[in-house]
Symmetry: C2
Subunit: 595 residues, 2 copies
Amino acid sequence: MAESLGNMKRTHMCGTLGPHHIDEEVTLMGWVQKRRDLGGLIFADLRDRAGIVQIVFDKDISEEAFAKAEKIRGEYVIAIRGVVKRRHAVNPNLPTGEIEVFASEMKILSEAQTPPIYIEDEDDVSENLRLKYRYLDLRKSRMQKNLMFRHKVAKVVRDFLDENGFIEVETPMLTKPTPEGARDYLVPSRVNPGKFYALPQSPQLFKQLLMVSGMDRYFQIVKCFRDEDLRADRQPEFTQIDIEMSFVDVEEVLAINEKLLQRIFKETMGIDIEIPLQRMSYREAMERYGSDKPDVRFGFELKCINDIAENCSFKVFADTVKNGGDVRGINVNGYGNRFSRKDIGKLEDYVKTYGAKGLAWIKVTEEGVNSPIGKFFHDAEMDKILQRFDGKPGDLLLFVADKPSVVLDALGHLRVEIAKQLGILNKDEYKLLWVTEFPLFEYDEEEGRYVAKHHPFTSPMEEDLELLETAPEQVRAKAYDIVLNGIELGGGSIRIHSTELQQRMFKALGFTTAQAWEKFGFLLEAFQYGTPPHGGIAYGLDRLVMLLTGNDSIREVIAFPKTQNASSPMTEDPSVVEERQLKELHIRVVLDQNQ
Amino acid sequence: MAESLGNMKRTHMCGTLGPHHIDEEVTLMGWVQKRRDLGGLIFADLRDRAGIVQIVFDKDISEEAFAKAEKIRGEYVIAIRGVVKRRHAVNPNLPTGEIEVFASEMKILSEAQTPPIYIEDEDDVSENLRLKYRYLDLRKSRMQKNLMFRHKVAKVVRDFLDENGFIEVETPMLTKPTPEGARDYLVPSRVNPGKFYALPQSPQLFKQLLMVSGMDRYFQIVKCFRDEDLRADRQPEFTQIDIEMSFVDVEEVLAINEKLLQRIFKETMGIDIEIPLQRMSYREAMERYGSDKPDVRFGFELKCINDIAENCSFKVFADTVKNGGDVRGINVNGYGNRFSRKDIGKLEDYVKTYGAKGLAWIKVTEEGVNSPIGKFFHDAEMDKILQRFDGKPGDLLLFVADKPSVVLDALGHLRVEIAKQLGILNKDEYKLLWVTEFPLFEYDEEEGRYVAKHHPFTSPMEEDLELLETAPEQVRAKAYDIVLNGIELGGGSIRIHSTELQQRMFKALGFTTAQAWEKFGFLLEAFQYGTPPHGGIAYGLDRLVMLLTGNDSIREVIAFPKTQNASSPMTEDPSVVEERQLKELHIRVVLDQNQ
């Protein structure tokens, strides 16, 4: 049965003890990691957030403590008082391995049943079981470190932004449904029958309103919500580092964010990041890497061979170019020998998942080229190809011919897939990159019109203003993403602050003035009363922490995440509620859609 | 039409300029507070978050800037470049009043329509209009200061807790409905038809689970939600500073929180708070102040005169005591002359709103007592009464006779009401007080059983454990509230960490084991695997900031609050949503409850 603390007060954390505490009396509290009985002594590993230390119970020191120690098992919570001694057999695997604590007093604060999962980092149980017993899963040192790291990142961000004049302002969680956005989570209103709040997909409108209100520099670390189907890096609720500033253009936003990133890397990882960071236009990123979030830790860059393919006798290539398509390739340079015909077949299957119809290949060997399509090219053509890719013996060239978008997408993914297979992606290398000058619009086939790629308040680049009506697809936006090792960490833009330009933008999007006001009325109204030039950025905190801690899923860095079907096996939510509650909210459940 | 920033970069904030900038060229950006034309010059007050500075446009310096300046009106957003000069006519009302800036260049960044509310602190418009144009309301210096102060408080809290080993952990916003709590906001689940999440009323269960998981010291500044009817200090969503720690008893929790409060007052107000803070048991607070959150900035303490009343010839008093009631009074000492019979009549009306049937009074004058009930008391009895209250000429004694709870409540409110009427409440005096040893239970007439006053996991005091089954109403809890000037800032408790004690607690609450598991299953299960002694506290951040900034409503310290009917006149939420959205969520609106 559980004892109370009484007058015992903890003096140290278990994991912090070392040789400099020898002969000191300490009071420790924590969980029993394991117990061993040996030669009339009882040894217990005592664990807290800081680490593990060995406790020794010796009948000659305290019969009472020894007697209690005979009862303890794994995960019992105990408090001990005792003296730190040098350990005879040093345990080099334990930071506290040079010492142990001889207990003169002990209390069993809580007994424990055998836990359903082991409290060990490498416990190999299903994620569902881990989430059901998350409070045990979080006892693992690895998980505790993840959460402490996350705390640290948030702290560094807040410190930096505070020092730079940013004010954290809380924006509402109960707000208005988002026009033109993802699917909202809705909250029925009790006092406004038939009406609903939405949980915010982002504080975008509010942060712009705060700029209109003269707050000048705003930030918030804030929960956002999207009711989308889940993947490894998606959760119904996620946390955003949201930033907005007034009287700035792209340069100022990028500059302050580079300093922020530099600080995060320095203070949480001890890594020096050189700034200014690399920058690349969207167009260059697509051309060279087939991706708007390229992983630039490795090469295998895309190159176009339309000029060569156009007139070659390989019909697939030639026809593609003639029909407005592209032929592009990458050089897996130096790794040609690592890919058999069968391996290349698998790579072909891989690019097909991105819509490519096939994957042509050329191996460069000391004896010349080896390729099923080799016969279609004269020597001069082949030389030109090799020259373009700087092809040398040991290289493997891979080609896709298709619509430009398919070619870029397929090869963009292929180069990453190959790097993964080759194991050349260094987890300890952090390549940060700004991708800038995104297109302002993208064409929505379904809606049959241009839609805003970022959002309808994103400012076009001044250089492209004249194209807004004549060639909207060519207009570049003052929008930017920050990319880390091929993953988008965040993105933002300079917003439109001119009513006149905003009108032109809506027109380009195919909205009448009335439609625009219906969708964005209160923001447009606000903009009429004096709006400063402003812009900002938002980072995904979960993703950032996931990457910095070397995890593969954001669920590893969220204390209580949801499963893939947006539920919690621990608390069993969502759950059925009482009819009375629904009545108060003026709603009824309708399971059969046809009712 | 709006100009873009071009190559202009802000060098200073308007409100920060002073004589040490004289002859410096500066670039400023902000809103035009007002414009005056005088003797061929145009003067504009330019405003940003930091304050206001006077800009002078002189045709001789720049004709172009002067021409543009002729167009500007209130709330236009402009950028100017110019040189700081000493002002001939110093404006002592303006921190920047010793200088002005002569503009050599200017851009109109945004035009502005005449705003529907004035951007002045004392603008006397309806709150509804203020909330509809909140982005303009927030331009007021007073409101900007409120939000900046709030940011500062949150920052100080985070810094302090971080330094003291607390980890900020985010707990879910989409969670399980709260058993035994207030009304939840519900969120229908799309992927789990017929099921609902609830928005958290507090992270209580999660923070306890984090203690079970060994996180040791947790905090979070977090949004909480209660679907209750609103008052000046209630909002559908509010922000809590939530703290929990392991291996502690009451003393440790109070001690660290006193240091936290000390730091907040020091760093945000420049005020030194002496610690340890005053402490008072619930019982003493009720006896002396008729309140569990007494304002101890002034006296007028309650005293019981049951012993005198019991045998007096004033039947109302005597009968009350005989029937188990109380007769208590306060001495409005020194202010007797301020209350006429008519005034006292109004005070009587006031106590009636708290259920009292009347208010007896005795004025002490140089000539003796003056009281409608004076004749019912012998001289010896009257002397005893005066002695008890230390009644001196100029004093006014006020009495209520009724059920004990009514007497305490009525007099508790009366003493505060009187202090308000007398204007003796010093807004600049901050009296912090711990109220401790709350009753563990209170009797719920409706349910016909004892319910937990705090929550069912609150630990009883060890001294009272034996009363748990025999006299539950006498059991005191390890619960505490922190009170500032009569307002509860926060509260918390040490939690039960023993399964055995938890069973006894549930039994006392009238739950069978099965019922307890149905309500709190996952927490009880968690407690079986080794639970440290733990406890914590939660503060209302909105209320704290409201009090420290001297505001009367939390809406003044929330950027985008809701109105009394939980709606936003600005964004017009809650709002009607599309049928398609409801269908996806498997719900239907039912406006007629009888359908």
